[in-house]
């Protein structure tokens, strides 16, 4: 059948050239059935030949009359089945019989897509929603589930911090907040994890979920789809569904081994270059130089080995299905001291009772993650420690490691001394589970079409993060810390109760079918965060296993409780699958806000027109399906700390007391507060189309959107006397994101059944323009109307920041001076353009600093290719970003010769100094703001599948992060979300080999 389809498609392509002869006409008739054992007749199939068209009847029959005699092809198509074309030869006044057996095809439009509180056929969606299922997930050593969909969905930017299982950030259609979170809401099997709600001592809060247990990930990109999640939906919603069992009992095992190595490290001077630089620019320090040739980075990096094993038992009976899984994962980082180790358990059980009227679903996912981290200071000191210096020093009886002479604050530390005398690790236990009961009332005539769902969910976390720095390492002794110990034990529990009714009246309501969903949700979170931190510790004997006697011991406990209560409803209306409309509303009551502001309403509405169903479109042969969509909706963002609406009383310390009645009294101060603090709110327009063309060979969607976020939180001056201080955190700013997303999946080649070549590709592109519209109307316009971005701190200087929040510019734009260059392309030290350009001046913040470029990519491309040939499979995924800029902070911080004399011992220099010749730091030069555009081969995989005792066994090899082409000179152009490359963890290239077996 596949061969047939292939041939048919080929014929179609040349069909336009087929000649028609004679004026004589005839009739074509036949039946259309399904190509499975039942051969059930298919009604409603569109069958066409030339300009003639017919729809099959209930018995699957059709008839085309008046067809010109000759040879041509006749085609049959219906949603959910692969279209077919068959050749015919027709004599005048004759009748030709052409029967079709259509093969069901899980094409995009027939796919069942998870939406909030239910599922929907992709074809009926009127919103911008994209679902990725496990067959399309990224291969290789994947620790965090978010990585599975990297590069796969337009409008979705995935950024990871390169550490094993590292914290991943996702931006759906740009950054829509400054002081609240911009991360999407994650919902795992119906349980919202909440923005920032997951505490973790590990790298990423979603690591409790075994990537191998994930069946599908759905991104709700626009407000029409996301607004059903109300106040947590402004940054998009990510729905994660875990696998459940089906079919006979089977066991699956997947195992893999991987090996990771560093791709790129900061480019620093080697021993000879360093010696030469010191000799020339810091002759006084030559005597301090050793004779070693030490490559500090090569001493701290390593080949990171990893392994992953997953086993699952799954199956289904007449009225139940189940899947049990266990997983083990161990991945070492490419820098010593960092690793992640995870044990996962997953249980999904589904039992149907009372003639399938009652459907009980249980899903429990849990994990223990043990993460270790490279201690702070290792990476930066590997860059800055002199390469002429030895590693060891026998005279150092405490640690045995060499350090620069003296115990000065202004010298680098031996990174190996830190690495081997400090620890930093975390253990996280987390489980998320859900019990859902769904009852179908259809056996009561009056209640036909009604189902009720009750769902009880939980999300519990216990996390323990411990770090310890010995009291005799140079890094600790030089600043008087003299050792430090820190432990934070966090515990958090969320409970969730949701009930909702779904009603689909059995008869049409007017011309169309109605679908109504309405419900109630109650979620409650309790958390407790105790911490202990100690410095000046008396002994290293305990390591991190006890709190030693300490000069300073600070303990704290924080209890954070919150509630979210919601009522929600959605109504859909569908006329003949042609005219579609949907509206939803959610009313959220949140504990984060004060009386009068606790409740917010988040409405959304969308319409769809499947124009391909219209008669006038039937003649447009290349269109299999085309749906036009438009939507508007409002969503909220409350991902910021609890209790901001209420004035809190801050205690004094013992040096700010006042005498009252003969004793010094600690003074308590109530904080300034905006009691009317409310959600950041986003209104989104989305106009798009879902298409399927050339016999569903190309399917995809295209969307244009405009997201306007108001009531952004900022701390701004307020009218004196109206509050308890002169600045207050309030809802005042606005930001806009506009752009478009485009996805296409192409079935380029379909293999014949006996296993030829098949080739699928998918490509996506997205463009986003972010503009901060306003931050603070209380400050007069002009150059002063900006806020230096407090999150953009850089190394070098004290309290230096390099980004700005300025209306008219993207959020987090770099705020730098425009470098003047010599004719030979070398930057002219300390010479910058004046405001407006032209003349030159030294760099002065607020005078000739300008907002230019920003860390967010303006264009994101993803391309995936999957080929199978007989038993081989081969795939790769490419990614490109355009227009993202990175501030190379390693270069700006130690890219000048003054670093040789500024401290008590010379710092090693970034090799950019050989190009610039800078004598002093030029922290605000835009020379260091580099274009970070890149093309990256994210993964390449090859596999071979053996038939094995009637089951299958697949061997595969994957290389992740195969290569990156970029003009950026630093470590990684995806340098975190903030675009500041300051000794970031380097990116690794990972080779994985593994096998999957199923029996």
């Amino acid at each position: 059948m596949r061969l047939g389809r292939f041939i048919a498609a080929a014929l179609l392509l040349i069909g336009g050239g087929a000649t028609l002869s004679a004026q004589a006409v005839g009739t074509i008739r036949g039946h259309v059935v399904t190509n499975d054992a039942t051969h059930a007749p298919l009604a409603g199939v569109t069958v066409s030949a030339g300009t003639h068209r017919a729809i099959t009847l209930a018995d699957g029959s059709y008839q085309l009359t008046g067809v010109a005699a000759g040879s041509d092809s006749v085609r049959a198509r219906i949603i959910g089945y692969a279209p077919q074309a068959k050749p015919y030869t027709l004599q005048g006044n004759d009748t030709a019989q052409v029967d079709f057996a259509l093969e069901a095809q899980a094409i995009t439009l027939a796919e069942v897509v998870s939406i909030g509180y239910g599922t929907q056929k992709a074809g009926d969606l009127t919103s911008s929603t994209k679902q990725i299922t496990d067959s399309s997930f990224n291969p290789g050593a994947v620790v965090s589930p978010q990585s599975l969909i990297e590069d796969k969905v337009s409008g979705v930017q995935v950024v990871d911090n390169n550490q094993p299982g590292g914290g991943l950030s996702i931006r759906v259609r740009g950054t829509a907040s400054v002081n609240a979170s911009s991360e999407p809401l994650y919902v795992v099997d119906g349980v919202p994890i909440g923005n920032g709600g997951g505490i973790s001592a590990g790298s990423d809060p979603l690591n409790f979920l075994n990537p191998d247990d994930v069946e599908s990930i759905t991104i709700l990109k626009d407000a029409a789809s996301a607004a059903i999640y109300g106040t947590n939906a402004s940054n998009g919603v990510v729905l994660i569904t875990t696998k459940s069992g089906q079919g006979r009992a089977r066991v699956e095992y997947g195992g893999s081994f991987s090996s990771a190595s560093v791709t790129r490290l900061p480019s620093m001077l080697d021993a000879a270059q360093f010696r030469a630089a010191v000799t020339q620019y810091a002759p006084g320090a030559v005597s301090q130089l050793g004779s070693a040739n030490t490559n500090w980075f090569s001493l701290i990096d390593r080949t990171g080995m990893g392994q992953a094993h997953n086993a699952a038992l799954s199956g289904s009976g007449a009225s139940n299905n189940y899947r049990l899984s266990v997983g083990y994962l161990d991945q070492d980082g490419v820098i010593q001291g960092s690793s992640t180790q995870q044990i996962h358990v997953g249980v999904n059980y589904n039992q149907r009772l009372y003639n399938d009227r009652l459907d009980l679903k249980t899903s429990v996912q849990g994990a223990r993650s043990y993460d270790t981290y490279t201690p702070g200071g290792v990476l930066s000191n590997a860059a800055q420690m002199g390469p002429t210096q030895p590693v060891f020093d026998a005279t150092n009886v405490a640690t045995g490691y060499y350090n620069w002479p003296g115990n000065s604050l202004t010298s680098a530390d031996n990174p190996l001394e830190i690495l081997n005398n400090a620890t930093d690790h975390g253990t996280t236990y987390r489980s998320v589970g859900n019990l859902q009961a769904k009852y179908d009332f259809s056996n009561w005539e009056a209640l036909r079409g009604l189902t009720a769902t009750v769902s009880l969910g939980y999300d519990v976390t216990y996390a323990d993060r411990v770090s310890f720095y010995a009291n005799d390492i140079h890094q600790q002794t030089k600043n008087g810390s003299d050792g430090s110990f820190y432990e934070a034990q966090s515990q958090q529990g969320n409970t969730l109760l949701e009930t909702y009714l779904d009603y689909q009246p059995p008869s049409l309501l007017g011309p169309g079918a109605l679908d109504f969903t309405g419900g109630y949700s109650f979620s409650q979170s309790s958390a407790r965060y105790p911490t202990v931190s100690a410095t000046q510790i008396s002994t290293n004997a305990f390591g991190d296993a006890a709190i030693p006697q300490a000069g300073t011991l600070i303990t704290s406990v924080d209890v954070e409780d919150s509630k979210l209560i919601s009522f929600f409803g959605r109504v859909g209306y569908n006329i003949n699958d042609k005219y579609l409309a949907s509206a939803s509303v959610r009313r959220d009551g949140s504990s984060r806000f004060g009386p009068g502001n606790q409740w917010g309403t988040f409405p959304a509405a969308s319409v769809g027109w499947r124009i391909s169903q219209e008669p006038f479109m039937q003649s447009v042969g290349f269109i299999s399906d085309l749906k036009l969509r438009g939507s508007w909706g409002k969503t909220g963002n409350q991902a910021f700390p609890n209790y901001l609406f209420v004035s809190t009383y801050g205690a004094c310390n013992a040096t700010a007391e006042y005498p009252i009645g003969g004793q010094f009294v600690c003074a308590f101060r109530p904080s300034a507060v905006d009691p009317n603090l409310k959600w950041e709110s986003t209104a989104t327009w989305d106009v798009g189309a879902d298409y399927s063309i050339f016999g569903q060979r190309f399917t995809g969607s295209i969307d244009w959107y405009s997201k306007h976020t108001d009531d952004l939180l900022f701390t701004v001056p307020v009218a004196a006397g109206s509050n308890l201080s002169n600045y207050v955190l309030t809802n005042i700013g606005s930001v806009k994101n506009t752009g478009f997303d485009f996805d296409v999946t192409a079935h380029l080649l379909d293999a014949p059944p006996n296993g030829g070549l098949s080739w699928n590709t998918s490509f996506n592109v997205s463009h986003n323009t972010n503009t901060l519209l306003s931050i603070n109307p209380n400050i007069p316009g002009g150059a002063s109307n900006y806020i230096l971005d407090p999150t953009s701190g850089i190394a070098g200087g004290v309290g230096s920041t390099v980004e700005v929040l300025q209306p008219g510019q993207p959020v987090h734009s770099f705020f730098v001076c425009q470098q003047v260059y010599q004719s030979n392309g070398k930057p002219e030290e300390g010479v910058y353009l004046k405001p407006g350009g032209g003349d030159t001046a030294t760099c002065a913040r607020g005078y000739n600093t300008v907002a230019e470029h920003d860390p967010a990519p303006h264009w994101i491309f993803g391309f995936t290719s999957n080929m199978t040939f007989h038993r081989f499979d081969f795939s790769f995924t490419l990614r490109a970003w355009l227009g993202n800029y990175v501030y190379n902070n390693v270069a700006s911080n130690v890219g000048d010769y003054r670093e040789l004399t500024d401290g008590s011992s010379p710092y090693n220099l970034n090799s950019s100094v050989l190009k610039t010749g800078f004598q002093t730091q030029q922290l605000l030069s835009d020379y260091y703001v580099e274009n970070g555009s890149f093309l990256r081969m994210d993964n390449i995989s090859v596999g071979y599948t053996f038939p094995w005792q009637g089951e299958r066994l697949r061997l595969y090899a994957v290389v992740q992060n195969a290569f990156t082409i970029t003009g950026y000179s630093g470590v990684d152009p995806t340098a975190g979300l903030n675009g500041i490359d300051n000794n970031i963890y380097p990116r690794s290239r990972t080779f994985t080999g593994g096998l999957d077996v199923q029996f």
Binding site: S647, E657, P659, G662
Partner: protein, 553 residues
């Protein structure tokens, strides 16, 4: 691949309708029950536990005292941490923004008494009346005043009868809180006085205005004056009466005497504030202080300004500072450090270093004649010149280390980086001078008594009775000069000169008056009368559209 299944295709099932119906009811019942249980929960309110809010803070009976401490501390330290950390107002350094430091600078630097050397942006212009509506220090003073007002208003809201009743506060604590409330109202009246004196017409916000409500409306200077006077008259008898110094119970706190002094200040300047003078009440209020018998002139003038000035019987209201417990880079600690520099030895003043800032203008030095102990602290070392040729040169103009972190017995304060010296806001000597001025200006009383008061100050200053006010010279001008000598650098001068009509205009010119702060010409010139009040902050006019800028700015 070949055996992939169609998902969740239901098989065929036998109908068991009766059985199912019963179960259906069970399920429906459970679902309804759950929905009702859940649905009953429609209140999302959650009380914070680890943070102190009004809900839990006031459960502790000590909280009222701790809040009151903040109201006083707002004048003593710039923030919640010693050394002015965790600042009360944002947008300016904590030490710079310390209440008394700002108040002192605005009252002294633009007058004939003092100059400051530092070049901090917009600070030099205060030396020369050269400020505009964007002056950092002027603006910070404005926000300091409203920080105090905000604290007091909140204190009053949290201690209303209804609030106390709702918390079940004990009767004895309630009585104590009534005194606290009177003290808080005094502190608000004090700051409003500073506000109406420095800025003229500004918003009047009270405990009856809600937090975060609309931008407040501007009150006229007369409305503010009337409000402050009525407040003080309402609370004066509720305030504690000071005991003999040192009185631990009332140390550093508002007393009836303090309220009377503040009333005297208001009445004395009523003509400036409202256009209608009220010298009779000024005299009455001053008399109330003097006749209370609670205060005596300190026999040793300079002991009003020492590390142990808390024991001076002359002080009526002082803001308490302490090197250990109440640490600030403002207040007296600022004056002591800043009036020290060059060859002066910081140790002689009980501090850890010199800041090279404050000196006297020659017009102030010239007020003193030989033998007057009040001028004896002026540092007339040969390395100095009296004339202030350059504002920024510490050797130009004599420093006046009148305040010191040494005790009256020669010991050093408890912690040299931070002085123990309390800031003497009101002292008995000024009550004498107010009585005298009010009497001369027709406020009633006895001329002989008035003269006697002034003579008592002069005899203390000279150590004899030979330097009384000369016959026929008992005039308002004499009083102004006497105020200058007696209250030098005590943050009264600008108010005095405005009352006398001499602060601006050309009647009285002193060095640097109206000059270019960044130039070298110290010759003074006449200035415009709009400078008699400071401008409202330029940014405030945007934040509060109800405001109208003072004329001339």
């Amino acid at each position: 691949m070949s055996n992939s299944e169609t998902p969740l295709e239901k098989g065929t099932h036998r109908e068991r309708s009766g059985h199912m119906r019963n179960n259906g009811w069970k399920v429906l019942g459970i679902a309804t029950a759950l929905a009702l249980v859940g649905g009953a929960c429609t209140d999302p309110t959650v009380a914070p536990q680890s943070t102190l809010t009004t809900a839990n803070f006031f459960q502790d009976p000590n909280s009222y005292k701790e809040f009151l401490a903040k109201i006083y501390l707002g004048l003593a330290v710039g923030g919640q941490n010693g050394g002015d950390g965790s600042t009360d107002i944002q947008g300016i350094d904590g030490g710079f923004s310390q209440y008394l430091r700002l108040y002192w600078e605005l009252e002294e630097l633009p007058t004939d008494e003092a100059v400051i050397a530092w070049g901090d942006q917009t600070l030099p212009e205060i030396n020369t009346q050269g400020w505009n509506a964007s002056n950092t220090f002027v603006n910070a003073m404005y926000y300091r005043i409203y920080f105090q007002v905000g604290m007091v208003n909140e204190f009053l809201r949290q201690t209303s009868d209804a609030a106390l009743a709702s918390r079940g506060v004990s009767a004895s604590l309630k009585t104590t809180i009534q005194t606290y409330r009177a003290e808080a109202r005094f502190m608000r009246a004090l700051s409003y006085w500073h506000g109406l004196d420095l800025f003229g017409s500004i918003p009047l916000v009270t405990e009856n205005d809600a937090i975060g409500a609309a931008a407040p409306k501007q009150a006229t200077r007369t409305e503010l004056y009337n409000y402050v006077v009525s407040e003080l008259n309402a609370i004066r008898t509720q305030l504690p009466v000071a005991g003999p110094a040192p009185d631990a119970a009332t140390y550093g706190r508002a007393t009836q005497g303090a309220a009377d002094m503040l009333l005297a200040e208001l009445y004395l300047n009523a003509g400036v504030y409202t256009g209608t003078a009220d010298y009779a009440n000024a005299l009455t209020s001053a008399s109330n202080v003097i006749n209370s018998g609670l205060y005596q002139l300190n026999p040793v003038y300079k002991n009003n300004f020492t590390a142990d000035n808390n024991i001076s019987p002359e002080l009526i209201f002082a803001v308490a500072e302490d090197g250990q417990h109440t640490q600030t880079y403002g207040s007296t600690n600022f004056i002591i450090h800043a009036a020290c520099g060059n060859s002066m030895s910081a140790g002689n003043y009980g501090v850890d270093g010199c800041w090279y800032g404050l000196r006297m203008k020659p017009s102030a030095v010239d007020l003193y004649s030989a033998g007057d102990v009040r001028g004896a602290t002026i540092y007339k070392d040969t390395a100095w010149v009296e004339g202030v040729a350059s504002l920024s040169t510490f050797g130009d103009g004599y420093p006046n280390p009148k305040y010191t972190n040494k005790t009256s017995t020669g010991g050093t304060g408890s912690n040299p980086p931070f002085a123990d010296t309390d800031f003497p806001m009101f002292r008995l000597a000024e009550a004498y001078l107010i009585y005298a001025e009010a009497n001369i200006r027709g406020g009633g009383g006895s001329a002989a008594t008035a003269l006697g008061y002034v003579d008592s100050l002069r005899s203390r200053a000279y150590g004899d009775t030979l330097h009384g006010v000369p016959s026929g010279a008992f005039t308002v001008d004499t009083i102004l000069a006497e105020r200058g000598r007696e209250l030098m650098w005590e943050a009264h001068r600008r108010t005095d000169l405005v009352r006398y009509g001499l602060f601006t205009g050309g009647t009285y010119i002193w060095a640097w008056k109206g000059a270019n702060a960044y130039g070298s010409d110290s010759t003074g010139v006449a200035t415009n009368s709009h400078l008699d009040v400071y401008p409202l902050p330029a940014n405030e006019l945007i934040a509060n559209p109800n405001l109208k800028q003072n004329t001339g700015y």
